[in-house]
Point group: C2
Chain length 230, copies 2
DNA sequence: GCGTGGGGGAATGCATGCAACTGAGCGGTA
DNA sequence: TACCGCTCAGTTGCATGCATTCCCCCACGC
């Protein structure tokens, strides 16, 4: 079990993060960034020292994170949830279906404002340098989030956000794969076009193909990181 | 705003529920049963008195319920989340897609043990009296839960459980509709057969049709309860 | 040497007290 | 009469203290 760097750092830890963030947001960010590694036990007093608050708000944060599915009860307290290649495949299989549905429903329900938002993120995508990982990820997430919201189905959006949260536990982005950024932008363009002309079946098919490709790249990334043979 | 019956019942409320239930479970059950009505404000001290504990465990329960999406922050504290016919339609639309996926994947991945469980709940369904609402609901939920688990996709199961939780906020069951119980059992049988013979496309189609029918009945139920014209 | 029982330390569950904030009601004034 | 400000009650956010539980480890006995 890894002895993480951020905990057990003595009684006067450096508060490297924005102090205005709530303990929930800070711990969540630490889990998603990998700063708190999978399997790492989460001790309330250590986290309290780290966040500079008492145990009470930490306890609430841990309950919320437990409900999010980011941490679970191991023997003796909480621990960051483990990862597995099986899980990432399952998440993507599920996401395929929901993203395809989002595209289909968005084509039916989108408003003129939704179209403006989609076009905005397509434009931003053109301005991003292919070497700028953070920029690509931001534009990509905002574009797909705009598709979700264009579906105007709150339950669907809620589930997609939950899936995305679990996906964020896995490092790496498919967009840094050679040529993927241009291909993704092209598919985004086609998806936005289908949504604009209210072609729900096309939007469904394009979104499906888009995330099938993303899944396959993502699996390769995960194998590379864990040193597994492909 | 309704003044709920369970709160503000004085300093010595009768503990009608099992005292071993955690505050989270008790409040959750009260919301799902309608004992705590939509829109009702949730005051920590009142809930603490009701559950016979202090505010601390209540606060944790409220944070978890917030993460579940059963309650949300209104101005001045928490309140039970409101309902709407639009939401129930959106939930069912999403559920259609996920249940159809569950049927398809279950046909691919089911084990012999999964088949035994499916058959078990089909048998139980035959023994239930069509007037026994609670019995029908129990058998129905267990059968579909068995399909979910037969998919062996934890992410999918997680999302379906979340959807089901939100659906449970709405009263009534489609199974009490005339003739629906027999029709549902017949469709369950066909779904189990398709899963057994690994016919994923048939399982997909049967599950889809099953939940389209359930959605349409459910919408009628909701309209009847709220007195809306159909 | 091995197994077992007890003790100590650590972590969690819960209760309580205090501070801050907010909203409503009320009174005063123009 | 209408509007503005003040005060107080109610509620939440947070810190702290205590009890409990449980694990680990060491010492003791067989």
């Amino acid at each position: 079990m890894p002895d993480g760097g951020v905990l057990g750092a003595g009684p006067a830890p450096q508060l490297s993060r924005d102090a205005r963030l709530t303990p929930y947001e800070r711990i969540k960010a630490a889990i998603l960034s990998g700063e708190l590694a999978p399997g790492q036990p989460l001790v309330e007093t250590s986290l309290a020292t780290w966040c500079g608050v008492s145990r009470t708000p930490i306890r609430e944060a841990l309950r919320r994170l437990q409900q999010d599915g980011l941490i679970d009860r191991s023997e003796r307290g909480m621990a960051v949830r483990e990862r597995s290649p099986e899980e990432i495949l399952d998440i993507y299989d599920t996401r395929l279906v929901l993203e395809a549905m989002a595209g289909r429903v968005a084509a039916d329900r989108r408003t003129p404002y939704d179209l403006r938002t989609l076009r905005l993120w397509l434009d931003r995508g053109r301005q991003v340098d292919p070497g700028d990982n953070a920029g690509m990820v931001e534009v990509n997430e905002n574009f797909h989030s705009a598709v979700w919201r264009a579906s105007h189905n709150e339950s669907l959006i809620d589930l997609l956000e939950r899936l995305n949260l679990h996906l964020a536990r896995y490092p790496g982005t498919t967009l840094s794969s050679p040529g993927r950024w241009d291909a993704a932008r092209h598919e985004h363009q086609e998806l936005a076009d289908a949504i604009e002309r209210r072609d729900s079946e096309a939007a469904h098919a394009i979104a499906l193909a888009h995330f099938v490709a993303a899944r396959d790249i993502r699996l390769t990334l995960f194998d590379d990181e864990t040193g597994r043979p492909r």
